[in-house]
């Protein structure tokens, strides 16, 4: 198991390095003078030159890259052009907020999705199954921001039941969580249903039923456990995407998260902040993938011995 973990970890290192490099290179292409952006349009030319030297922008790209990487290794992501605070201190609280929301959403989506998927399988071919199929197709087709707007209109504007913005209390969590989890919930429902159907067709399920094990035990214990493998992949992938995909939900509900910060930073062309946020998204996704691989290894012993 240790060897398996070490191997998976080593594979993700070059991906992470490439992510960092790509994020660095992408912003070399940006039109306009970053030093000028830093001091403002009407600053004196001398001030621009001073900033250019201070930020090392007069150096060749290669040197800038080495400086960038060595700073990064020490956890220094530079300063925001707009607020002049360090990028790390800008990102940290935002990342926490996004993580909280994404965790709430993925837990909700997984629990309800697996339950509904199991229900659809057990009731296969009945009205329940068809209803769930149609509902989940609606779920994956629903524009997140529209769902958010409709929820806000009904629960905040019309009925004054829930707050429409902010993240202070648990009541602030309800609508954003539902919104962010809608797609994943539908997706996990469908995934659970098809994985479970496949497993239920296996010989050992028939054997278990034939020797008199109750159906609930067969489905709930033997089959569901084996059907979880593809579901875990989907949950992991969806969670990785949620961290970034939360941007829309965050915009609708004024949730002070990382995605919202990114949109603002893009609008203000705050390059260091954009770079920092992107790095965090990329690193988060690579990390989640690593975790999924590890869970795989635990669930299916065959994989870690390969």
């Amino acid at each position: 198991m240790v060897r398996y973990i070490a191997k998976r970890f080593l594979v993700s290192v070059p991906t992470l390095l490439l992510v960092v490099t790509l994020v660095f290179l992408a912003f070399q292409l940006i039109p306009g003078d970053p030093a000028r952006m830093y001091v403002g349009v009407d600053a004196a030319q001398e001030a621009v030159e001073q900033v250019r030297r201070d930020l090392g922008l007069d150096q060749p790209v290669w040197t800038q890259y080495v400086t960038y990487m060595s700073r990064l290794a020490r956890g220094d992501l530079g300063k925001s052009i707009y607020t002049r605070r360090s990028v790390v201190s800008e990102l940290a609280p935002r990342f926490r907020n996004t993580l909280e929301l994404s965790l709430a959403a993925i837990v909700f989506a997984t629990l309800v999705g697996v339950a509904l998927g199991t229900l659809a399988t057990v009731k296969q071919g009945t009205g329940w199954d068809r209803l769930l199929t149609v509902l989940s197709l609606f779920g994956i087709s629903m524009p997140v921001f529209w769902l958010g707007l409709l929820l806000t209109y009904v629960f905040s504007v019309q009925w004054h039941l829930l707050p429409s913005a902010g993240n202070e209390t648990w009541r602030h969590f309800l609508m954003p969580t539902l919104c962010l989890s809608a797609f994943s919930l539908a997706f996990i429902t469908r995934m659970t249903r098809s994985a479970l159907l496949e497993v239920l067709a296996q010989d050992y399920v028939r054997t278990a039923l034939a020797k008199g094990v109750r159906e609930a035990v067969v489905v709930g214990w033997h089959a569901l456990r084996n059907a979880m493998l593809p579901v875990v992949t989907v949950v992991g992938l969806r969670f990785g995407y949620m961290l970034g995909g939360a941007v829309v939900t965050e915009e609708v509900f004024a949730w002070p998260g990382l995605g919202r910060l990114l949109v603002t930073a893009v609008g203000q062309r705050d390059i260091p902040l954009v770079q920092g946020a992107l790095l965090l998204f990329g690193a988060g996704f690579v990390l989640v993938n690593l975790l999924v691989d590890l869970v795989y290894g635990i669930l299916d012993p065959r994989i870690r011995h390969r």
Binding site: T15, L22, S141, P143, V144, L150, V247, V248, F281, F285
Partner: protein, 283 residues
């Protein structure tokens, strides 16, 4: 003629066995018709402002009502469909052309495999919307930059597919024969490998359309996509934020259009896949 009658029989059989898929097909057909014939179908110019009729609800003259500047919503929805179709198809086109090329090269020339496919992994490490946002940050905001932004994200999707296909097609006897008889690399790639990937590429394209439509609208909703005043569903929703409380129709209608279009493609794709999978043959 024979082909036509066979086709119509297949469509009829599908409609009979897959009601939901047929509904999806109808929605897709409606979307395509509206998008292609927008100038003929729209009752008004989508950009004509009439401030006196600001936020007017549905009426006999304006079936879906008017927005805050009194523009006819039906006409804006119709032209919005055209914009959606243009963006999603061109973005996927860009993704397909570059993705197919990179995927084939990576699989055919083993030396290129590592660098190309690793690069694709990196792009895939980001959610589509984040890649698109970043591209817009670099290129600036315009319709064609939205196309490029969404296109870039689709390159790895095609590259992965074609990479896998090429690897397996390469092992077939007819490709070995072609190489042995001295065909050039170019000819092997274009005359033997590409045609055999084509069916999967077409399927992939149709599966990616709803996502591309959604991403385009999302970008505009975030204020980083199609710039106003161009009629586009996402930016119509963005614009509706301030007015939804007084006139909910300006928020409900564009969202409904977007959802129905995406739903149509999703349902059609889903049921078509079931219909074509012999293991899932109905009864």
């Amino acid at each position: 003629m024979k082909l036509l009658s066979r086709l119509s029989r297949a469509v009829w059989a599908f409609t009979r066995d897959y009601k939901l898929g047929a509904l999806g097909g109808a929605l897709v057909l409606l979307f395509l018709t509206v998008a292609l014939l927008a100038p003929q179908l729209a009752p008004y110019d989508p950009d004509t402002i009439s401030l006196r009729e600001s936020l007017a609800g549905p009426s006999a003259r304006h079936w879906l009502g008017q927005d805050n500047q009194g523009r006819d919503l039906l006409s804006r929805i119709i032209f919005g469909a055209r914009m959606s179709l243009y963006i999603s198809l061109s973005a996927i086109g860009i993704g397909a052309v570059f993705g197919v090329l990179l995927g084939m090269l990576a699989a055919y020339y083993r030396r290129l495999d590592m660098p190309i496919m690793r690069l694709m992994d990196v792009v895939l490490a980001f959610p589509g919307i984040i890649v698109a946002l970043t591209t817009i940050a670099i290129l600036g905001r315009s319709v064609n930059n939205v196309v490029i932004a969404i296109g870039i994200y689709h390159i790895p999707q095609f590259a992965r597919l074609v990479h896998g296909l090429t690897l397996s097609i390469q092992e077939t006897v007819y490709v070995e024969g072609a190489v042995a008889s001295g065909e050039s690399d170019f000819s092997v790639l274009t005359r033997y490998i590409l045609p055999n990937c084509l069916a999967s590429i077409v399927v992939q394209t149709s599966l990616l359309i709803p996502g591309a439509i959604m991403t385009a609208a999302t970008l505009s909703f975030l204020g980083l996509g199609v710039p106003p005043p161009t009629a586009e569903w996402g930016s119509m929703l963005q614009n509706s934020l301030q007015w939804a409380q007084m006139a909910p129709h300006v928020m409900i209608i564009p969202g409904l259009a977007l959802m129905l279009a995406v739903f149509g493609f999703n349902v059609l794709g889903d049921e078509l896949r079931d219909a074509m999978d012999p293991r899932l043959k109905k009864r």
